[in-house]
Amino acid sequence: MTSTSVRAEFPNPVGTPPAPRQRARIRALGLPASFLAPAAILLGIWLIYPMVATVVRAFFDDRGDKFVWFENFDRMFSDPIIHTAIKNNVIWILVAPIAVTAFGLLLAVLTERIVWASALKIVLFMPLAISLFAVGVIWRIMYREDTEQGAINASLKVVHDVFKDEGVLPDARPSSDAVSDRFVFTKQLSAGDTALLGLTAISPREVPEGSTQAVEPQSTSGAITGVVWRDFSPGGGTPGTVENGELGIPGVTINLLRGSNTIETATSENDGSFEFADISGSGYRVQVAPKTFAQPYGGVSWLGASLITPSIIIAFLWTSVGFAMVIIGAGLSAIPRDVLEAARTDGGSELQIFRRVTIPLLMPVLTVVFVTQMIGVLKIFDLIYAIAPGSVQNHATTLAFEMWKRSFSGQNNFGLGAAIAAFLMLLFLPFLIYQVRSQRRNL
């Protein structure tokens, strides 16, 4: 598109003679200058000057008095925390934009086909209207590891429990050496022997309903008898012996082992007693069935060091996918009807059309979304600040976060902060060049 030259098309309205060429040019500059002045002043002071000032500042010490050459940069690159920050930036750049764009594309395509598209768009776009700090708070709550407190782990637990049962006594331990770590009574048994399976680290509330005082098993000929009980008395008691006040544990499965095979099982009574009748010979062992101690679902450690960055990225996706979906969706509906019809009459599956026609036509929109995400991802601060607990901040950090931390969180090292900011700017340069290039192409 060519722009019109004002002076050529429209003479001076007051009626004075046309000005000589030089004067015209200056006057021609006066008008755009006044239109551009406010923007120019603001951009000059708030964007251009700071860029220079930050770079300059990076060469001075934390107070700003001493010129320290490259010391700040040196410090920056030798700091392992900064290394982690850079690593995290790379992860963010590689994962987030493509995930947002791809997911947005998928949803945009699918949403085309439903009646309630507008409603869905609003729902998905809504997170963008919430402050990123609040988003961080929301997800921090949801990521709590405790399955009773964190929504995500609670849902995972529901799924987990469909497949695996929780044991009756997940935390129990043997009360003495008489029972091995695998809950096998260490003494080999023959007919007429008794087994004392004492368990500890059981809360009184964990003992099933109906339990009564544990009983010392009586030796019975031709059988192996035993008791499984909560071997704890206030103050500790004497582990390994059944004492007054100690409750038997009913409903526990006991395995009778011969060698390594379970040949029979029994279930304990209210007083914890169990019996294997019709036993002859020796070489038996008894064991509390391992399923008794099946651990409850512990939940995933979303806020732990290894998962913290992915967890924050997921929260970021929640805010951005809606944006991508809406933009791409609008781009989709802007594709002229006839092109798609033509492709269809030429014969071709939906998938082919999608790949060969739709995607190329969507490229400009997809690129805009993708590049915007890349730029946005490098700047993220609020989410990290809100989601990462103090103990993993150094694992979740990024360059933007470190820049703030070194400058404004009390350390007041403006020199180092400026160095990080300058380095961060360097990372933005490729995008700057890309933007400039594509704009010039469009001119």
């Binding site: 500890t200 059981i202 809360s203 009184p204 509330r205 206030p234 103090g390 993993v392």
Partner: protein, 439 residues
């Protein structure tokens, strides 16, 4: 029209200069500084001063009453108070910007050292005799830098306390232990009784440094504590390693910690308190933290003092240090020297100011002249008197360090130690980080 405008301007200028003169005059009078407790005529002191401290929410309301008491005494002074979760950060920024508050309550002497270094603080020697009369020598010393008095403690925290769930202790049949060895044994018994013994809000590193400091003071003694605080001995010193080794007795037993070490690392301090004192099925029996725990309990659970929870002193180690107190406090400092600010500082050093907040609860005063009967309950009375009267009192070590270390790296290092229980590696890392901060 024009002449009237000029007349108005002239009158305004005149009025302003009169007011300015009035203010300026006040400064000359107060210049003598303070021997004795007689205040200059309270009505003469005027102006607006700004203060910053860490107290927000309910605590801010409580402090406001103290301020009201001050404003009653000095009716021409207006005090503006702002609470901030991280007062060091807020004030550093303000100082950097050239606009500090008049008076502030810093929550660590490390910050005070930093500000003295930057030349931002004014000495408060005018209040010296008051302060020496109302505080034990250890407390006065903690407000002194390079021989000059810069700060006085208004609010204190006794961190040598252990809070426990009385029902859990009953079920396990144990009594509050008096020695460290007994504590470990009690921990085992609690575990056997079916409840994990300890809850740590390890997501906030200071909960771990507090444990370290209490042990270190008792194991290594007060002298070495001071040396370590000033980095005169390295963190690889055998005394440090010995303390870390004692800590592994708790940290290695992950099953005896609520949430295990990994869960505890994500837990904030208030959550760790809820874990111990929630009504049904507590997740742990004890939380080893300071006397601010009851405030959290009241705000977040239904547990009642003495019926549901109680406190015992941090135990002695090898028979040493039964009454030692490691504590914290908010230290009142002055950034701008003017009569109103001086008056506020003196006021906060008095038992009068302390009493106003003490009556409201959730407050311990290190002011030994305060009559402890004003505290609203028995538990506070015990912990607060221990704090004010302790023969050996040491300030929380992490708060004495440069903030880069004591507020950041030390926390991270101990959090890693919490996970790994690797004594040698941790000692080395602590030394490395401390050396970097002291450079």
């Amino acid at each position: 029209m024009k002449s009237r405008r000029w007349a108005l301007l002239f009158a305004l200028a005149l009025a302003l200069s009169v007011i300015a003169a009035g203010c300026g005059g006040g400064d000359d009078e107060e210049g003598e500084g303070g021997g004795g407790t007689t205040a200059a005529a309270a009505e003469d002191v005027s102006g607006t001063i700004s203060t910053v401290a860490v107290w927000t929410g309910a605590e801010a309301k409580a402090f406001q009453k103290v301020v009201d008491g001050f404003q009653e005494k000095y009716p021409n002074v207006t005090v503006k108070y702002k609470g901030a979760k991280d007062p060091g950060q807020v004030i550093s920024t303000a100082v950097q910007g050239g606009n500090p508050p008049d008076v502030a309550a810093l929550n660590s002497p490390g910050l005070m050292f930093d500000f003295v270094d930057q030349g931002a603080l004014k000495p408060i020697d005018f209040a010296k005799s008051d302060i020496q009369a109302n505080y034990t020598p250890d407390w006065v010393k903690n407000g002194t830098v390079n021989g000059k008095l810069y700060g006085v403690f208004f609010k204190g925290a006794n961190k040598s306390t252990v809070w426990y769930n009385t029902h859990a202790f009953e079920d396990a049949g144990i009594e509050p232990p008096a020695t460290w060895e007994d504590l470990i044994a009690a921990g085992n018994t609690l575990k056997n009784s079916g409840v994990p013994a300890y809850a740590f809000g390890a997501g906030e590193g200071w909960t771990l440094t507090d444990l370290f400091e209490n042990l270190y003071l008792r194991i290594a003694g007060a002298e070495k504590y001071d040396q370590l605080a000033e980095h005169k001995i390295p963190w690889t010193d055998p005394s440090v390693k010995e303390t870390l080794t004692e800590m592994t007795k708790i940290f290695k037993d992950s099953g005896n910690i609520a949430g295990g070490t990994s869960g505890a690392l994500q837990m904030q301090f208030p959550d760790s308190v809820s874990q111990v004192f929630q009504p049904s099925d507590p997740k742990a029996a004890m939380v080893i933290e300071g006397d601010f725990v009851p405030g959290v309990v009241a705000g977040q659970t239904q547990a009642k003092p003495q019926t549901d929870y109680n406190v015992f002193k941090f135990p002695s180690v090898d028979g040493k240090g039964a009454d030692d107190v490691v504590g914290g406090g908010d230290i009142v400092v002055m950034f701008k020297d003017n009569p109103a600010a001086r008056a506020l500082v003196k006021y906060l050093a008095s038992p009068e100011a302390a009493e106003i907040w003490a009556r409201q609860g959730g407050f311990s005063s290190p002011n030994k002249s305060l009559d402890t009967s004003v505290y609203p309950d028995e538990i506070t009375r015990t912990t607060a008197s221990a704090l004010a009267q302790a023969e050996t009192f040491r300030f929380d070590l992490s708060d004495l360090q440069p903030s880069e270390f004591g507020g950041d790296a030390m926390f991270t290092d101990l959090q890693d130690f919490f996970k790994t229980s690797d004594v040698d590696a941790t000692a080395k890392k602590l030394e490395k980080d401390a050396a970097a901060a002291y450079k």
